[in-house]
Amino acid sequence: MMALRTRLARFCAAAAAGALLLTGCGSGSQDPTAGSTNVAGSLDGKQLLTIPREDMGTFERNFNPFSNPDFPMTQQAIFESMLIFNPADGSTTPWLATDWEVAPDSKGVTYNLRDDVKWSDGKPLIADDVVVSFKLQREIRGGFDYIDTVTAVDPHTVKFDFNKPFSPALLDIGQQVIAPAHVWSTVEDPTAFANEDPVGTGPYTTVTNFQSQSFDLGRNPNYWQPDKQKIEGIRMRAFAGNDGANLAAANGDVDWAPQFIPNIEKSFVDKDPEHRFYWFPPTGSMINWQFNTAKAPFDDANVRKALSMAVDREQVTKIGMQGYTIPADCTGLSGAYDSWRDQSVVDACTWTKRDMEAAGKLLDGAGIKLGADGKRVLADGSPFEFDYSVGSTSSDWVSVGNVIAQNLAELGVTVNVAARDWGDVSAGYENGTFDSGIVWSAGAPTPYQFYSGMMSAQTVKPVGEQTFDNYHRFGDKRADALLEEFTAASDESEQKQIMNKLQALFSEDAPVAPLFPGPEWGAANTQRFTGWPNEDNPYATLSVRARTTVLVLTALAPVAG
């Protein structure tokens, strides 16, 4: 018994030490002096597009498009959606559907499918495929609660009826990937079906080689845009962490590097500036500093604004995010919603710019006065001191917290950076026991979901009840009214007007302190493939997990000779 216990203890200690070392050796450890690039294989035009996957040490074959989390390339190269929304330029590209029509009362939408699309097994794409896909998606992954019925009107027309007006549905439904009904309707247990030889409409559907550390996808013989299948195929390679993937990128062994690379100029681009580039558009989800508004004094908008004003966002993005993103403004909208942003709200913005004097006045007004020792005290005499929760593995967000703590100390407010295990932190968020913390926000094609999660009174759950939305527990009935108006508005200019009002309301309420939009990491090498999206040609982001990835896959061309 004794021996077993010590052995177990020794093992656990080793495992824990391993985890520590892993995070410890996470940054800046690779500085390969090998300046030359070594591209594997010759450039005969048949080279495979090589992409690293940094968070999977090994691959288990599973091309089920309804699996959560989804397997690499399943929703990018194999299965496609009816339309594609590109957050980098705000455009919408018709894909499996040619056009669509929103019902005048916003209680439905009808999509017309292309009639020249074939599945990789040669059968045509029909409306029934869409019907079955939505049935499976709702059964297995959930969501789409606003859909009442999905009907195949004719083989190329599919009609969605909602149980309430819901205009954001157009992009939401349009971006769902479609699976073939003739395969999936006979699958016994679709949840556990590994779909090893997938039938899809995407450009690269043929699994030509599958090994635990790499797999190759070849062309779909029946693709509906054969002229866009310029590359021979895709090769995914597994890495058990960023370090290995970054080394492969620095060494020129991969063509695309969608993972975070620290100090990318020096460690990646400088090795071959002629061919290598990176582009980090601020189109990720907005990263916020949230306060538990169920706790005083965070229920006071002026207190939240004062705290937000004390934060030096330039310093936060420079130190915490290595300068790879931009400070947020009072609309709280990330770069993905630039087309919705109301410039007048941004111009009138006060509380996302650093202003210590105004912040001090706001706190004074809220009864949080400076004490004799230079620290602020609450009305009841207790010091104004609270925790900033963050997952300890997110080292960048921990640094953000340290900057905030320093900034706030100047205001006389004590912020303790409480870096704990993410499971612990998110449990605190879900049950409403936290003080304040850093948090991501919902990602969706329209800002509707963002504002709903930020300000809708309907999403507020009492403290102690688990929630996965609106962790900060803030609700404003006016926001609910505007959101409802928005869902009923089918006209674009009307939608814009309502969204402007929501932005003004966000600026007034300050439900959270938006810090910066998360950058969409992406770097690439033009030595073997050309046609990448970049800042001047933002037809997609450089993400390999987004819906826009297929736009890149169908645009790239191999370099030959």
Partner: protein, 325 residues
């Protein structure tokens, strides 16, 4: 025989304790798998999808004792459920797919370290104060005190990146598939060199010192003096008289190391992106993937217990004193 049965009883009890711990420990961790996943995928899972996720994962809300009963029943039918972080892949598939590589890396490194380490230990003790004895132990202890990953990164940088002699990652060349051909086996061996060397370098010192120290004690025994007095050849005394008797602790240590191979050389696997269960374990813990965690821990404990049992049996053969009581 009685001895073996007693030991067997002990191992069965130990196994029961470990599978029970295996059940309890993951449940003591903060958070539940679904909220962990929401936190990990940051914004990719919509709040309204959470319920469906919980359902499809088959997370059990029944009383703990009932869960425990289900767990035992499933375990004995060889069903460890689905891995949550790699849903819907069964845990057994995840483990069986990777464990071969872990065993290959672990075994080859262990065997090489044991053979070289013990041989050097025997020689060092036999020529006490000689060149081997005064130079090797300090160097190897110095190397052995390096953290695994540090040495691994050093090797990777020197022989992989700067000199380009060995591949930087993975178990075999991408685009090839496992087959029984000389070319493929050569490729696997080629990819194995750096990861195995990093483990051998770190562990060899322990074997050398252990063997050397027992050998020195054995060398002072009367029967060695007797053998020398009889005029036997030096090599024969060293191997057949001294080393043979000094082997016992090494056998125990070998058995224990054998069990720990299954745990995987986590850091080596990460640095060289080598496939295996070590990294899976870390990932399973981070993702609160209970079923995968339990499967891995179970495999590791079973391997440790089996290896120990095997050592016990070998001991009965090697050491008559064990048989006597």
């Amino acid at each position: 025989m009685g001895f073996i049965l007693r030991r067997l009883g002990f191992y069965i009890a130990a196994f029961w304790v470990s599978i029970t711990l295996n059940f309890i420990l993951p449940r003591l961790m903060p958070g539940d798998p679904v909220s962990r996943m929401v936190a990990r995928l940051q914004g990719e899972i919509r709040p309204e999808q959470v319920d469906a996720l919980r359902r499809s994962f088959g997370l059990d809300d029944s009383p703990v004792l009932v869960q425990y009963w289900h767990y035992l029943a499933k375990l004995f039918s060889g069903d460890m459920g689905f891995s949550i972080s790699r849903f819907p892949t069964p845990v057994t598939t995840v483990i069986s797919g990777q464990i071969g590589w872990t065993l290959l890396l672990g075994f080859s490194a262990l065997i090489i370290a044991v053979i070289i380490g013990n041989t050097l230990g025997i020689l060092a003790a036999w020529r006490r104060g000689g060149f081997l004895d005064s130079v090797l132990p300090p160097i190897l202890v110095f190397l052995g005190s390096f953290p695994y990953f540090w040495l691994a990164m050093g090797l990777l940088w020197l022989f992989g990146i700067t000199l380009g002699w060995f591949p930087l990652r993975h178990a075999f060349e991408a685009g090839t598939s496992p087959q029984l051909s000389l070319a493929f086996i050569g490729d696997v061996a080629y990819h194995l060199v750096l990861p195995a060397t990093s483990i051998v370098l770190v562990s060899i010192g322990g074997w050398l010192l252990g063997m050397r120290n027992t050998m020195i004690a054995t060398n002072a025994e009367d029967y060695i003096v007797m053998a020398e007095a009889k005029g036997l050849r030096s090599n024969r005394i060293m191997l057949r008289y001294a080393a043979r008797n000094a082997m016992l602790p090494a056998v125990t240590a070998f058995g224990m190391s054998l069990g720990f191979i299954v745990g995987g050389a986590l850091l080596t696997e990460v640095v060289f992106a080598y496939p295996g269960v070590g990294y899976q374990l870390l990932q399973a813990v981070q993702a609160l993937d209970y079923p995968l965690m339990q499967g891995l821990f179970l495999t590791i404990t079973a391997a440790v217990l089996l290896a120990n049992f095997a050592v016990d049996i070998v001991y009965v053969r090697l050491d008559p004193r064990v048989r006597a009581n």
